[in-house]
Symmetry: D2
Subunit: 336 residues, 4 copies
């Protein structure tokens, strides 16, 4: 049986997911498209999904009887309404980050899904599907003893002037916020932010780099350097110090060259090159679960906790150096 | 349009390719199966391809009107007849190694395809699809200047007693024989084999390790250590020395750990773990080309040249230390 | 001219320095020895320095007319008195860590040397002479742009039960405290300590690991993991994030092996193996300067600042998570 | 007791060894100098060894009663006569490469030393003192099982036009010829040379690169790439394949940087930077042995075998591809 998928939001990421489903992955096809910009949906139909029907609204697409599952890849502010509609229709739904633009919105989704009684939502935290993190998690779980400290870094070559200090949390650290909960199987209890002097390449409204320190319920301390104007490349680092030893995220595969008095390999400069393969794996996982009428991978609860944690980190930016408590509500049984 | 594929030979590799096509890749499905052991074909139908029809013979499968393309994954001695039948039927055909068990057999396939006038055959040299070799080829083509020397190694942890000296060529070096022609875009003109003392873990009928030295038409010298009882792991190494610098095949991705006074990472011990991902890429490439009625990737000519070169290497084993000439016929225009 | 050196304190480090001077380095010889345990001094005379005269007291040794320069390698509590006596005698003096057991004591040495008007004292911070740190400093000064963040770690396999929480500062972090001031050519303005849960291998009176965060006058933030029961080895790490890129302290030279399905190299387990070569370089530097009647390398002022900073870090341990200000007095011109 | 050394030949290497002895190492001093160019000897006296006496001839220097030991660092063609004179005088003698310019000359030295009945000569094969090779030898002896294959490379950035094909053996491979006998504790039985096409940067009278293949008495095969116009750096590689695993010579220590989309470290470009530290160790070893009236390290026999092997390799260049036998005379008991 081929899973019939409708895509709401056919911008860059929606278009790329449509291509992935129709041309790369097995078990699904795109049957429906919708976008506020109808021309965008028509272009995807023409180029990628000629058999798809175009709907005027996301709600109409969700309601269509031949749509088995939904991808929400529209503008962030609209995610909540479409995910809620998909839950109401009982259809599996893959939602790109963020699940909602506020913690309250994410909570409403959690509540709706809990009331529905079965998982339907997968949030697009693709790092959990990256082969490097998967291997790191295995090492953390089986080789190095219980984790005590995590040293990490999230570095981008440059960001535009519109990128302001809180975006280092909402747009950048958000990936670490989710992946470390999963990696450590633990929850955060506090956040703290330290600012060294800003880099000369930073902008007037951006303190960059910053060091975010998260503490978990089991007492692990995570320090993450977020440096979005690091200039030299896109570089994701993570080292976990455990009771018995240390495990480190692998560098991306690269050809080592001896050239011009340098032993060298290229560093990536575009985040897409780093994580592109994990999008395939995450969507294949969605297709497999949705074919059984449910969802797998990152949950609504994960999206909700990410929102709460992000808010605490932004508060911690404002209270530089002080620990800001993170108090999570009780986790519903659906997510255990 | 979904490409309808028939599989001739449902042993380990045939079964795995069927799974790949039905569950992992996009654009194709298994509609036909055949095996001398009918129970094997039935098991694949039951587990992987419930809609497939089982045929008594490969020829009947090839003739079936709803079979668009054929996978030949049967016993090596039968490859030639099925590939010739597929060409006769004008159907794209993926054939696992070897294309034929003799150079003459491979030549008959080349001749049939040339007469047909269009490429239909892809040979299963999957290393050309490995991301490491693809990156290495890019570095060789664009970064290090024209290649002059290649240092390589093909190491297996252990082989059984039935593995005798010539199998180091036919079963093991065969991969290097193909991949270096592609990597260097060059042809061989001679082969030479040197034997150091054999390892204590080797067997009575196997000289192991051995060093195979190939020379190309452009004057590049390739030395390959073949060591099939190296004990420590499955390890594929390749370093290309060019006019301006050196490029080296990446190590497989692994988590680096600091543990027990060792900075360490696991080395693979099973060849399947090393090249499993390249099988997906090679078959996807086959599906894309077959959907257009043709073939891509390694050609019948490549299979034929590999057979000629293997024969020369085995002669070189017998004439230890002497250079054995490799005289290739003119390449048909179809393969330029 | 051969520099005539007297050694006060012939325990392990004093004996080793005597061997170094008489058997490894050029330009100096041991002419005088003194130790509260006279048998220890006699053993060094017998084994290493047969021509040396043994003195009853350090003061008598310093006063001897044929002693050109002094090594103070006695028990830490006695350092101050001997260094002051050497300054009073106008003789160059190499003093092992700590310069004095209190900041006040170190200040008295600074004042005496300033009054003397010329440098006479070198403190035994040998990391400044380690070839790895020297190369790192060169990269920081010339390759990666101005430093913004330092990530570091100081890990020991294990410590005995007597090692309590403040010793992680006084005995362990003390090396980083000195070397980062030199590496960054900057001064500290605050210290902060964070404690994750302690490792199972730690002891009742030791919180281990800990994270020490130092801030410098120019706004660089340094975070150092101090983990003295890390079990897997003796491991010193340092990564400097600059405006243009990142430089990392090299791993100690080690043979990489492929063995037992591991790509591996040994990690050191003894700190002496890591820094033994730098002792040669530091003492050779002392000999060269002392031959000219002065001192080079780490100054009394450096020893004093290290003492002040250590005290602030211990306070920061007590005020977990809070920043403790480090207010340095004005640096005397002698040390510019 | 301070060893009194006379230096015959005060060109670049003689001058540097004089500096080493007077300023870096312990236990010796320069008391005598001699050079065909007297001004050169006087410059060394002035700059480095003010107390040295200058002699008109090497023979006069050797005969001087206050000269305990001799360094022969003169023009290669004169080595034999001075070493023979030192043996005749019963004085320990360090001789730079080559021991003699012909195998016959080296044999005369061996015979003279054997007749003298005690080792007096150390040949300047400094690689045996390099910390990397020392560590590699330890790994070969104790970790990876008996050696079977060695893969090696000796690469220089560039050579001048006067450097012709046989110099790749006499001036370049000579280091590998000695160090692999020591590393493997084995002797050569044949040599073979293969020439790929020459690099565009090579010269009319130089085939470059070349591959030299040596076979040992125990059946180990060594292949060495010699590439003296490799352009990218000075690079010495060595990998030993043993029964149980593989050990590799470490890369020289270097700071790894992330800079300009490259993960990179500098490669050396000058051979002196690679082996400078081993000169200190080799001369210190000479001083220690000479102080006892004998010699240590590489022997006259080693110098003689190197000469025989070099000659065989040059013959092998002329007989491209053919194995040239290396027949060594019986080793005198003095060298066991």
């Amino acid at each position: 049986m081929t899973l019939r998928i409708g895509v709401i939001g056919t911008g860059a990421i929606g278009r790329d997911h449509a291509r992935r489903i129709n041309h790369v992955l097995g078990g699904a096809k795109i049957v429906a498209l919708s976008d506020v910009n109808k021309a965008s949906a028509e272009a995807v139909k023409k180029d990628i999904a000629p058999d798809a029907v175009i709907y005027d609204t996301g709600e109409a697409l969700i309601a269509a009887s031949d749509v088995d599952a939904v991808l929400v890849t529209s503008w962030g502010a609209t995610h909540e309404q479409y995910v809620l509609a998909a839950i109401a229709a009982g259809k599996p739904c893959f939602c790109e980050k963020p699940l909602a633009t506020t913690a309250e919105g994410a909570r409403r989704i959690v509540d709706a899904e809990v009331e529905h009684g079965k998982r339907l939502v997968q949030v697009g935290f693709m790092r959990r599907y990256d082969s490097g993190y998967v291997a790191l998690k295995q090492a953390v779980d089986t080789r190095i003893g219980a984790p005590i400290i995590v040293h990490a870094a999230h570095r981008n070559p440059a960001v535009p002037e519109q990128y302001v200090t809180p975006m280092a949390i909402h747009d950048t650290l958000i990936h670490e916020i989710d992946v470390f909960r999963w990696l450590l199987d633990d929850d955060y209890i506090s956040a703290r932010v330290l600012f060294p002097r800003s880099a000369a390449r930073s902008h007037a409204k951006l303190k960059d780099p910053q060091i975010v320190i998260l503490e978990t319920a089991r007492g692990t301390i995570i320090n993450v350097e977020v440096f979005v104007n690091c200039h030299y490349g896109y570089d994701i680092q993570c080292e976990v110090v455990g009771e018995d030893g240390i495990a480190r995220l692998p560098e991306p595969m690269a050809i080592q060259m001896r050239l011009g008095a340098k032993l060298q390999n290229d560093i990536l400069t575009d985040w897409k090159d780093r994580f592109i393969a994990s999008y395939d794996v995450e969507l294949q996982d969605f297709i497999h679960a949705a074919a059984k009428g449910t969802a797998s991978g990152p949950t609504s609860w994960d999206g909700y906790v990410a929102a709460i944690t992000s808010d605490a980190c932004v508060t911690a930016q404002e209270k530089e150096g002080q620990a800001v408590a993170i108090n999570l509500p009780t986790r519903p049984a659906l997510y255990n």
